[in-house]
């Protein structure tokens, strides 16, 4: 039996829990681990499993629904929907560059060599193409 994908949060992290949930689910949605048509656990189920308040999970699901990833209509199961990819404007590209630079700087500060970083970025780009 294949294990379902899992979500990991850290209640002690400086990042708010709803943001952690959004980030991890979005990563899986982009990578295709969660494909259109997939049913996500209900707000209640995920909140009970993670030991957080219902509102935290509901807020995360709402954010992803606003981005066009989920259908969260009341009374129905939470479902991944087909999403039209918006055209990224120059602001989005600038924001991405800025974040990437920050991330690379963090990784360099933590001791990762440029060669490793370059390999990781190349592998990531390759995975995204496929």
């Amino acid at each position: 039996m294949t294990q379902p994908p899992r979500i990991q949060i850290d209640l002690g992290s400086a990042t708010p829990v709803n943001r952690q949930i959004v980030d991890q689910l979005r990563t899986r949605l982009v990578e295709g681990t969660l494909a259109p048509g997939a049913v996500l656990p209900s707000v209640r189920r995920l909140a009970v499993d993670l030991g957080v308040h219902f509102n935290t999970v509901a807020d995360a699901y709402r954010t992803l629904a606003n981005e066009g990833w989920l259908d969260v209509a009341q009374g129905r199961s939470v479902r991944v929907v087909e999403r039209a990819v918006p055209a990224a404007g120059p602001e989005a590209r600038d924001l991405f560059r800025q974040r990437l630079r920050q991330l690379v700087a963090e990784a360099r500060a933590a001791g990762m060599s440029p060669a490793i970083l370059s390999r990781e970025l190349a592998a990531l780009a390759e995975r995204m193409k496929s």
């Binding site: 294990q3 379902p4 994908p5 899992r6 979500i7 990991q8 949060i9 850290d10 209640l11 002690g12 992290s13 689910l25 899986r28 969660l34 049913v39 996500l40 656990p41 209900s42 209640r44 189920r45 995920l46 909140a47 009970v48 499993d49 993670l50 030991g51 957080v52 308040h53 219902f54 199961s77």
Partner: protein
């Protein structure tokens, strides 16, 4: 009288044996309700804590036995009950005291949580049959009693001594005959609702790597609850039919064997649950130590789980910090009050 004392002493000893072993039937990452590093249970400190607790349990059990025997022999009212109570409350206090000694060895609290991104396909074992079978047994019994109403004696037994002799009676009235069956149905429904709450309102596994064990543990608990409801319903049905098939005023027959129906129906599933608990890959449960009051009571208003695994004993307990629980308790208390007034 001596027979009753012997049975009560036997029960006290049985409880002592259970309390003796209970702290070792736990998730492997816990020791006296404290999250500890792997292998802590083999350290000198852990063994000393366990010895201290067990010494308290057996001392309290001896006191309880003295109360039971003394109360029985010298006809001191309430002394046996006080002894049994002393054993139960004392053991909980001993557990809480020993837990405080283990707390300094706790691993630093971790906020790491993990959950499967999947829906909840679980349900009660057997589906609708888990409800239909016990309710059907009780309904069929009630119908049979109704059809044979005239054959029932004027007074029907509703309670039996240990030797099978009736020691509690009710008049042959609507609530005297059907009351115990209705009560059994209500209690059965409550237990099945608890099983549903375990399935839908308790965490499936908050610590990565413990999913398979948690799934087995939840399943074993739910199956035991359903088996218990079936067993109790069968037992109560047989008791209700007793006046039709035996002379209730005569010498005790084989009535004492009826509770064996319950024992036989739950014993294999109890054993299965104990076996799951003793497996070694259970890790920790992902609830914060600080939310376990005295190591026994879980109070966490931040946690939306209605039920969580017990840390002392096998099974599930409620989250006293959950507001839904208090609504349920309030409504239940109101219903009991209204039923009492109407009855």
């Amino acid at each position: 009288m001596n027979g009753e004392i012997a049975v009560l002493v036997g029960l006290v000893l049985l409880m002592a044996a259970l309390l003796h072993w209970l702290p070792t039937w736990r998730r492997r990452g816990l020791w006296f309700s404290v999250t500890v590093p792997p292998g802590f249970d083999t350290t000198a400190e852990a063994r000393a804590a366990l010895r201290r607790y067990r010494a308290a349990v057996w001392s309290l059990s001896l006191v309880a036995i003295a109360c039971v025997v003394g109360g029985g022999l010298f006809a001191v009212p309430a002394l046996p009950e006080a002894g049994v109570l002393c054993q139960a409350i004392g053991a909980s206090a001993a557990y809480a005291t020993v837990r405080r000694r283990v707390l300094p060895f706790a691993v630093p609290a971790s906020g790491a949580r993990s959950a499967a991104i999947s829906t909840d396909p679980d349900g009660l074992p057997g589906g609708a049959a888990s409800l239909i079978v016990p309710v059907g047994m009780l309904a069929a019994t009630a119908l049979y009693l109704h059809a044979n109403w005239q054959r029932l004696p004027e007074r029907v037994p509703v309670h039996w001594g240990l030797d099978g002799t009736p020691n509690g009676w009710a008049d042959r009235t609507w609530h005297g005959v059907y009351g115990p069956l209705i009560l059994c149905a209500v209690i059965g429904l409550i237990v099945l609702l608890m099983a549903e709450a375990i399935i839908h309102a308790s965490p499936r596994a908050r610590v990565a790597g413990t999913e398979a064990w948690t799934r087995r543990f939840r399943r074993a608990n739910v199956i035991l609850l359903v088996a218990g409801v079936w067993g109790v319903s069968a037992m109560m049905s047989l008791f209700a039919l007793t006046p039709l098939f035996t002379d209730v005023t005569g010498p005790p027959g084989l009535v004492w064997m009826i509770p064996l129906v319950l024992v036989v129906s739950i014993l294999p599933f109890t054993w299965q649950l104990v076996r799951v608990v003793r497996e070694r890959d259970s890790g920790s449960d992902g609830t914060p130590d600080a939310c376990w009051k005295l190591g026994l009571i879980y109070y966490n208003p931040e946690d939306s789980a209605l039920m969580v695994e017990k840390r002392f004993g096998i099974g599930y307990t409620v989250n006293f910090g959950n507001r839904t629980l208090w609504w349920i308790v309030g409504v239940a208390a109101l219903v009991i009050l209204l039923v009492n007034v109407a009855w």
